[in-house]
């Protein structure tokens, strides 16, 4: 047995074979360096092995399984012919922190970490009933990564669940390093700029989604948890909307939707109005714009493309650099380049305002991946506006709408509360309706159990 394991572990320099003499028996501990602390073996495992009089042969594991357990961080204890698996006490993981990309003003502060078991426990801590089901499987031909599907039995739509299972089973890939790989494998269409899977680092958000009847996919080794299915309107929601009172939540949502629209169309509208239809601007305003643009040598399309591209570069630079420097790059780049460009007469002051507004607007969208798709789509819109003016903007917007209508996420229409028109879901769309109006789960998800709350008791009493 020992020899078999040794031959399987050939070439693994970080495997430690620790020989000890316990009760006059030669015992070998095999484990991975860095996964198991020596002190843990001495303090916890040796006393346990010593207390066992005789190795129970039936507990013995096979050599392949033994190797796999070693790779996962367990300790294999070999005494004579028997190989015994013992827990390695766990390796070091990052402590639970507030997720930086999804901060909320009001709401819980914990976020997922890289360990699947910890993440599942974070979910279980919030959801104590047994109908929270977790199905664990292993994917990745070589990396053997653990994946988990979480859903709530009795709420979730079986058809969607079946689809998720089927797509998860189909994953055949050498390595699953992040949930992003899973996302791209299971998504419905790969050529759209819009994400068909939502992701989050917040356990409260995952539980909220599960309660809506959605399904979470957790991947070992990453704090990013996937949520499916998703419709576009869900990507404009943030957990904070629900924790605040409804008037606050609704107004924030309204600002967010307007911002998305601004981020999408403002530069193209600017191009269309400046280069094609100056008659549509009020006369005095048109005169003042024409005055400030007198020295600008470029057509507005080129001007806009240049500035928007610079903006994207600054943003990316800010992300790549360490935080402190990143901020500096943002401020210095934005202010200095903008100011200098205006001074040099390369761009007009109006353009700088437009670019700054689109930038700020795109940061308002709570999900990074949707924000990116909106930011991306404004470039084709700008090109269209630069070719045929307002007509291009309109046709572009119609094409985006048509495209959104053809997307599905796990069989759910992506553009749902608008089309197909579901009046009940409008209560949680641009406005976040007051609690009594949110009694039902989103209709679009075809939940098994539709009712969310029972307000009868609330109305009595006070």
């Amino acid at each position: 047995m020992y020899n078999e394991i040794v031959s399987l572990l050939e070439g693994q320099s970080d495997v430690i074979f620790l020989e000890k003499d316990i009760n006059n028996n030669k015992v070998i501990f095999i484990y991975l360096e860095g996964f198991v602390e020596l002190s843990y073996i001495e303090d916890k495992i040796i006393p346990r092995v010593a207390s066992l009089d005789e190795m129970d042969r039936s507990d013995s594991v096979g050599s392949t399984e033994a190797v796999e357990s070693i790779m996962r961080g367990d300790v294999i204890v070999i005494r004579g012919d028997a190989a015994l698996k013992m827990s390695g006490g766990g390796y070091e993981i990052r402590s639970i922190n507030e997720p930086q990309n999804e901060a909320v003003v009001r709401g819980p502060r914990d976020g997922f970490v890289e360990s699947l078991t910890t993440n599942i426990s974070l979910l279980r801590r919030r959801y104590l009933s047994t109908d929270l089901k977790i199905e664990i499987s292993t994917k990745g031909e070589r990396t053997k990564t653990k994946l988990a599907i979480a859903y709530i039995d009795g709420i979730v739509d079986e058809k969607v669940l079946e689809k998720v299972r089927k797509r998860m089973d189909s994953i055949k890939i050498d390595g699953v390093l992040d949930s992003g790989i899973v996302e791209q494998w299971i998504e419905d269409s790969w050529y759209t700029p819009f994400p068909q899977v939502q992701y989050t680092e917040r356990p409260d958000k995952v539980i909220a989604s599960l309660l809506e009847g959605r399904i979470a996919i957790l991947v070992n080794g990453t704090p990013i948890v996937l949520l499916v299915p998703v419709v576009l309107s869900m990507l404009f929601q943030s957990p904070g909307d629900y924790y605040e009172r409804w008037i606050v939540g609704s107004s924030i949502r309204f600002v967010r939707y307007s911002a998305a629209l601004i981020a999408l169309i403002l530069p193209s509208l600017y191009i269309a109005l400046i280069s094609f239809h100056p008659g549509l601007i009020p006369t005095k305003f048109a005169i003042s714009i024409a005055g400030t643009r007198a020295n600008v040598p470029f057509p507005s399309l080129l001007e806009a493309l240049m500035m928007e591209f610079t903006l994207e570069m600054l943003r990316e630079a800010g992300l790549q650099l360490p935080k402190v420097i990143g901020q500096t790059v943002g401020i210095v780049g934005g202010l200095v380049i903008g100011e200098a460009a205006v001074q040099a007469g390369i761009v007009s002051p109006m353009m700088v305002i437009v670019v700054a507004l689109t930038a700020v607007s795109s940061f308002l969208i709570p999900h990074y991946n949707v924000a990116i798709s909106f930011r991306l789509l404004r470039f084709p819109l700008m090109l269209l506006a630069g070719t045929v003016g307002l007509l291009g903007v309109i046709l572009g917007l119609l094409a985006i709408l048509a495209h959104l209508l053809t997307i599905k996420s796990f069989g759910i229409n992506y553009f749902s509360p608008i089309a197909p028109y579901r009046i009940k879901d409008w209560m949680d769309f641009v406005v976040r309706g007051p609690l009594p109006l949110l009694q039902n789960r989103p209709e679009v998800l075809h939940n098994y159990d539709k009712k969310r709350m029972d307000l009868k008791q609330r109305k009595k009493g006070w």
Partner: protein, 363 residues
Amino acid sequence: MMIKDKITTAQLAVTIVSVMVGVGILSYPGPVAEEAGVDGWIGIIISGIISLFSSFLIISLGKKFQYQSLVDYGPKLVGRYINIIIMVCFILYFLTFVSMVVRISADATKMFLLDQTPVEVILLGILIMSTYLVVHGINPIARFNESLQPGIIFILIVVLLLTLKDADFGRNLPVLGDGVVPVMKSIPKILFSFLGFELLFFLLPFLMDKGKVKRILSVGIIVVTLFYTFIMVLSISVLGHKEVVILEYPTIALVKNIEVPGTFIERLESIMMFVWIPFSVTTVVIFLYGASLLTSGLLKLEEHRTVSLLLFPIVFLMAVLPENVLQVSYIAEKTSYAGIGLSFGLPLILWSIYGLKKGMKLL
């Protein structure tokens, strides 16, 4: 024909509304006022009732044949060969109608916004956009109408309400000053604007829930009628009926009257663009879909995608062909007469054949 996609009754109603409300909305007050003077609104209401009646005929006929498409039940009624002739008529009508709609909206766009741009480019833009949707089938088309139509009709009404400041509703008086004859004469011209419900011949099989179709559809047609009446009355109130007659696009002139000082966009014609391009796109999409559906049905093809891609260049060529605006309106008028025959005459004829055959116990 295989029916995989299903649409709801509400979607069907919105779809029919979208086809009816097309580019005609820009110009119809002109011809109507020319015939009926200030009494155009009466003609519109009568035409609305006629359209409602015709669409009920089509639905009831479909009901007798388990909500099949005319392609399928036609042979039982009129025989295989005559049915093929009817289908070919429909296909030709749909294609000409689509190309004229595209051409008219492209001409309007060129006139108001893009003076130098070749009309072919504008045509191509609208057609590409429409064909993209058509190849995806009835479901996205229905959802497209559903998500777009209520919004743009709402925007248009809000914009038009801004003209109330200049409106003098007394201009619509007197009622029936010249008697009923001018009103009757105006009806054929108004019926053009109501064309589109003949698609019910072919869209009924897609319905998910067939029970309430008449009720919901009548809501749709009533909305269209009221909408048309509103624009008619408003344009006469603001512009005066003599002015409406000489304007090519009275509805745009109506909007041109509005200036909202102190906003970023002073003139609301731009918002009209956001309204009329979607109006024409929705019309084009459904008629093009209808044409490809019929062609593929006639050729016994499984799906319509390839056909609609093949129809794309045909429509484009047909739209480019007319030399000037007058020719376009000539062709459009002739097409509309064909449309009136197919959507108001054909249901009556089919019903009488049905009655005859039923009486002679042939069915």
